[in-house]
């Protein structure tokens, strides 16, 4: 058994490479899905039914789909619509589109609970359009939803693992490659799990710090 771990450690570069890919895929998804999630939330709260309802349907539908199935659809289905993307692009696209739905729901919830009076104060002092959103609404949405966004980041992190089935060389892919080459399943998967766990601890620690700042800034 110890020999198995030595085999794994000998291939630490594959793990680090996989971990790096997992990290930037997660970070990119978090950032992009937050932006698209805000836009989608704005559509969900828009007055015209023709805008509001499709946005609502998209979010509800997406939240009912298992991510693995959706990743398959993007990777194997898009070429049928003559859209050729490499596995990286497919993986990132699938992650962002899928988590946009969750982010939109988070942002919409926070937005509905936001005090309309502070937004009115923003308008009264000459803010409108994008400055009103960026300077008055967005920071409050952010501070209100930090804990939930932190949770969602952990879901994103774990969903990146599914991308191994569409050959994205992230952490799970690396662990799987090492175990199938050297037949050390226990050691290779345990090491990968430990790495996921460490990243999650890191995410939780940063959420806690932001949460402390948010605590001071809540109405």
């Amino acid at each position: 058994m110890n020999r198995d771990f030595l085999v794994v450690f000998a291939h630490y570069d594959q793990y680090l490479n996989g971990l790096w890919n997992t990290l930037w895929l997660s970070a990119a998804t978090l950032v992009l899905a937050s932006i698209t999630g805000c836009i989608l939330a704005a559509l969900m709260l828009a007055r015209p039914r023709a805008v509001r309802l499709p946005a609502r349907w998209f979010v509800d539908a997406m939240r009912c789909v298992p991510f693995l199935l959706f990743a398959y659809l993007v990777y194997y289905g898009l070429p049928e619509l003559s859209l050729q993307l490499d596995s990286w692009a497919c993986g990132l696209l699938a992650l962002v589109v899928y988590h946009t739905a969750y982010m939109a729901e988070i942002v919409r919830g926070a937005w509905t609970n936001l005090s309309r009076e502070q937004i009115e104060a923003g308008r009264a002092f000459g803010f409108a359009g994008f400055p009103l959103f960026g300077r008055i609404i967005l920071p409050q949405l952010f501070f209100a939803s930090v804990p939930v966004i932190g949770n969602q980041s952990i879901y994103i992190l774990k969903d990146t693992a599914f991308l191994m089935i569409i050959t994205v060389p992230e952490l799970t892919f690396a662990a799987s490659a090492v175990q199938s080459t050297y037949f050390v399943p226990f050691a290779s998967f345990v090491v990968a799990m430990l790495l996921y766990w460490l990243v999650t601890l890191g995410v939780e620690a940063s959420v806690k710090r932001v949460e402390a700042a948010a605590e001071m800034r809540r109405g």
Partner: protein, 255 residues
């Protein structure tokens, strides 16, 4: 020349507003001379707050016209202004709200400099300097770096007044500024307002504080059911109200 218009800070002509079938304001006419304080009194639901919001177009009136120093607010070349165009007028009218409505994600100082820096584009350093002076004036210089939720209601409202002054507005609009305060701290807010009034700030104050109206107002407007019932100098209004409705109201409110 043009003296007549420049002496009038705010003019409201024939303003009306309906919410659905409900006529909340009708035929509102009044003007506020530069440097004077006008108090708007009246029972709850008489349209006072809506009227205040029609002046800076937070609520768009259905009828009538509003002028700020002779410039038509809300309408340009016969069409409604966009929100962005309206902003140029709104920022010239500082507003103080019943529930303070400070921005919770900004410190006290940041609340005060937010609009001057990010709406008017004034240089940050100068604005901070000026904001400190204003906070000092409302007695909260030492609170500049705290977040609003740590302040008492009276302190919040004094910050809100500093925020409203920071843009050097042509007029201040007060929407029941003491109605959500404990009775024992109403005084600290009213004394700041009295100071501003006596310094010649132009103010439109919706209030239930009869003593403030009596002391500080140059003119009192009494509203009921969305209409102006009576307009009079405070002394006349409080000692010999002309209408039956005002007499009833004063009996209820002044003890």
């Amino acid at each position: 020349m043009a003296r007549a218009t420049s002496d009038v800070a705010v003019e409201v002509r024939g303003v009306g507003k309906r919410f659905g079938n409900l006529q909340v304001l009708a035929d509102i006419d009044f003007s506020v001379a530069t440097g004077t304080t006008v108090c708007i009194l009246g029972p709850s639901g008489s349209g006072k707050s809506t009227l205040l919001r029609c002046i800076n177009f937070l609520v768009r009136p259905d009828d009538g016209e509003v002028y700020l120093h002779g410039e038509r607010v809300g309408m340009k070349n016969g069409t409604w202004m966009t929100e962005r165009e309206l902003c140029r007028y709104r920022v010239r009218m500082g507003m103080v709200f019943q529930h303070f409505n400070l921005w919770p994600h900004l410190t006290v100082l940041e609340n005060v400099i937010e609009a001057p820096v990010h709406v008017l584009g004034r240089p940050r350093a100068d604005t901070i300097e000026k904001a400190r002076t204003l906070l000092d004036k409302v007695g909260l210089a030492e609170k500049q770096d705290v977040y609003p939720h740590t302040l008492s209601g009276g302190q919040k409202q004094r910050v809100a007044i500093a925020r409203a002054l920071a843009t050097n507005p042509d007029v201040l609009l007060f929407d029941e500024p003491t109605s959500s305060l404990d009775p024992e701290i109403i005084g600290e807010v009213l004394s700041v307002m009295e100071g501003l009034s006596s310094e010649g700030m132009t103010m439109i104050v919706v209030t239930h504080e009869m003593s403030f109206a009596r002391e500080a107002a140059d003119s009192v407007i009494f509203m009921d059911a969305g209409r102006i019932v009576e307009t009079a100098p405070p002394e006349a209004f409080f000692t010999r109200p002309a209408t039956r409705r005002a007499q009833q109201f004063l009996q209820r409110y002044v003890r």
